[in-house]
Symmetry: C2
Subunit: 457 residues, 2 copies
């Protein structure tokens, strides 16, 4: 696929060099906007305006939406006011908002100046909603119907106004902007009688989202109900827009990426990896690395505190990485499981006790299995095979008891912290691997030296 | 939302106890199938068959699809053959397949015996496609049109056959089952003239998927093109089914969950967390924990190998956790970034050299920043504030040089391994935190003792 596109890009550049514009245009119009945008992003920036102008108006706008912000900005600079207005006229409001959000202030001013008054009003409204709210990802272009219309009138209205709507397949029945019901095009087409009124066939048990509903919650509703769109209503239940399934898909993808970044100790980034500068990558990664380095001062202090014990039994040092590693992994297993379950809505804070009980039992199973395997390994490999006489039965016992206790603590802490974070309004994903590991590292050392004190000294 | 449902569940149980069936039914019919299923999953299993029989036929089938497999199995056992046939008649083929996949063999035999011959044939066909392929998640119920039909005839055909189709909004134009083009209901409704032929208005530049295309790739195509459905074609370009956006959303969610599970050292699980048994959780978690425990034998052996050096400079021990932790975190940052970019299609193996170059430069920045901060911390906090005389400038230099080198190695290894894994046809997510950490742990120790040997001894 990708390789196919690359060769098309080369062909187009050659044809462009030969000024065979008609041929270039013929090729482009057979293609999908997402693919054209992909090719345009590969092409030399100076050729971009020529190529773009070859596209028919509607395809041009659809392609424009799919392009990278840098290329969009470049094109806008090359547009006359007239050209800019033509592109804007073809855009859906939510796409226009996405573009405005990426552009520098002077470009935004030009866009708003050229947009028609209704679009300018809508863009400004959407921009005022908080980031990541339903209001900020909605579009204002939906088909609205009146309750007294007949099925035939409704279909006529869709035919007349549908071309500018993001989706025509779900239509919303309103009176004085208050949402009364919804009707799908399927309902309209399959209606027994064209003279039935919309009021008679509409679905009145509507599931809507508020303007301030978190976008992650909206995405969860899409995956629960399998709808094409949800209506967005304000506090007075007046309809202000719709969120469509393609926005929800983007949100799902972004939120999963964000969770993974947080889970591995990075600040979430808006930009794709290959398009980020080195300094941006550095900025997103260094904070947690610094924090974790500094917080590992504690593990260092614990070890220093037990220096005398370690001098007497240097063999204990050799197993610190294994104990810390096993603890860290156990903790991150349960934290990631809980974080993911929270974020796809399978788990709530009220399940806390059930979760703790699940993790305790799982940890006991894992702890016993690991301790047993570890004991066998220590006695067979370290003691017998490698002939390390310092690994006595007692030393092995210290290590295995520590391991079982650490796994237990790690799994419970790993599961509880994300749930508490969620309750406190923080992103649970912050409570994943790096954070948990640091706590569990310190804990496992304390347990280790504590157990060693009791059994060995 | 959830709490609201719980109280509805209680109300229903009370009403059921009072045998107020008509009232229960009145309440249920106002609700969405996904919400009814949620309530049914909360209700006592013995009441389930009574409640379910109160639902009108279509709503019953839609609710059935949304329920948990255990409840589905229980209901099927309570069904007469007739009732089972009625539910099956209302199901889409892909939903029937999902159910069949979860049921034990004797239930599957009963389902197949009661399904109508066409559905039985389709279920068997879909079951034969490899797991996670487009063929295995598609449905066979789509609207097909002929090229010579007029717009009016096409709309009539949709009205006549649409009620049983999973989506009517994208219709496929075929001749002898070969896919020729597609037409949306929007195109049909907005067509200038009802007498135009489908051939004239259909889109012939179709983006289709093969029966064996991986479901993750299919999900990526949905998020790229924002289509409602993709046609699934066989090797001869004959149309066999469609995949719809709701299937793609499920796939996106499942694949992200699977990646996160793999990334944190767990075997992917099909079941939601709260519905898994303790033994299932144990089974999914213990393998990696065991592997990592055993592999950490190497770190232990390295430390044992340098026992004499450590006895001379016990202070070095105190900084092992910090160095291993920083290395592990650095590596998991780059591995998770690369894994995610691979899985949403932003990165390919051919980008390998570019990725290595990006990571080297990022690692140099991170390494220098961390080493500098660490040096200041060691001299100010450990040496001056805590009065640890063993932390000399030379010891601090050993630690900081090790840190910079470890970060560099960790970031490059973390980025390269997932890409190589992908190239070898493995799931890149396996190459995340636990695996990388183990390698980096061993490496950081080798570097540490190597540098110490040069600078200190």
């Amino acid at each position: 696929m990708a390789e196919h596109n690359v060769s098309v890009a080369n062909t187009l550049v050659v044809l462009l060099g030969e000024k065979k514009y008609a041929t270039v245009r013929d090729i482009l119009v057979t293609m999908n906007p997402a693919d054209i945008a992909w090719i345009f992003d590969e092409v030399d920036q100076e050729r971009l305006p020529i190529l773009f102008r070859l596209l028919p108006k509607e395809l041009a706008a659809e392609t424009f939406v799919e392009m990278e912000p840098e290329a969009q900005e470049l094109l806008i600079h090359s547009f006359s006011d007239n050209e800019l207005r033509e592109v804007l006229d073809e855009l859906y409001v939510d796409d226009a908002v996405d573009i405005v959000e990426e552009m520098p202030a002077n470009v935004v001013r030009r866009i708003l100046a050229q947009a028609d008054p209704q679009m300018r009003k809508d863009i400004n409204m959407i921009l005022r909603y908080p980031e990541n709210s339903a209001g900020s990802i909605m579009t204002t272009e939906y088909v609205s119907l009146r309750p007294h219309m007949t099925v035939e009138e409704a279909i006529l209205r869709i035919r007349r106004t549908g071309v500018d709507k993001e989706t025509i397949y779900t239509c919303y029945v309103t009176r004085n902007r208050t949402l009364l019901g919804l009707v799908t095009v399927k309902d309209l087409l399959l209606a027994q009688d064209d003279e039935m009124s919309i009021e008679e066939i509409m679905e009145t048990n509507i599931i809507s989202v508020g303007t301030h509903t978190d976008q992650e919650e909206v995405a969860q509703m899409f995956s629960k109900y399998d709808f094409l769109a949800f209506p967005v209503v304000d506090a007075e239940y007046r309809m202000v827009g719709i969120v469509t399934f393609d926005d929800a898909m983007d949100v799902m993808e972004d939120e999963a990426t964000e969770d993974m970044e947080l889970m591995s100790g990075m600040l979430p980034s808006e930009k794709p990896y290959l398009r980020s500068t080195i300094f941006e990558l550095f900025k997103h990664r260094i904070l947690w690395l610094m924090l974790l380095m500094v917080s590992s001062t504690f593990t260092g202090m614990i070890i220093t505190g037990f220096e005398d014990a370690l001098k007497a039994q240097v063999v204990l040092t050799a197993f610190i990485p294994m104990l810390m590693g096993t603890g860290g992994n156990s903790g991150s297993q349960s934290s990631v499981t809980v974080i993911r379950s929270l974020s796809i809505g399978e788990l709530e804070f009220s399940d806390l006790l059930q979760v703790i009980w699940i993790e305790i039992r799982t940890a006991v199973l894992c702890g016993i299995a690991l301790a047993a395997a570890c004991f066998i390994k220590l006695m067979l490999i370290d003691n017998l095979l490698l002939g390390n006489d310092e690994v006595t039965v007692l030393v092995a016992a210290v290590i295995c008891v520590t391991m079982a206790l650490t796994v237990l603590a790690a799994k419970v802490i790993g599961a509880v912290l994300p749930m508490v974070a969620k309750k406190l309004g923080m992103d649970p994903a912050v409570m994943a691997s790096p954070f948990i590991t640091t706590i569990v590292d310190a804990l496992s050392l304390l347990v280790y030296f504590g157990v060693a004190n009791v059994l060995l000294l």
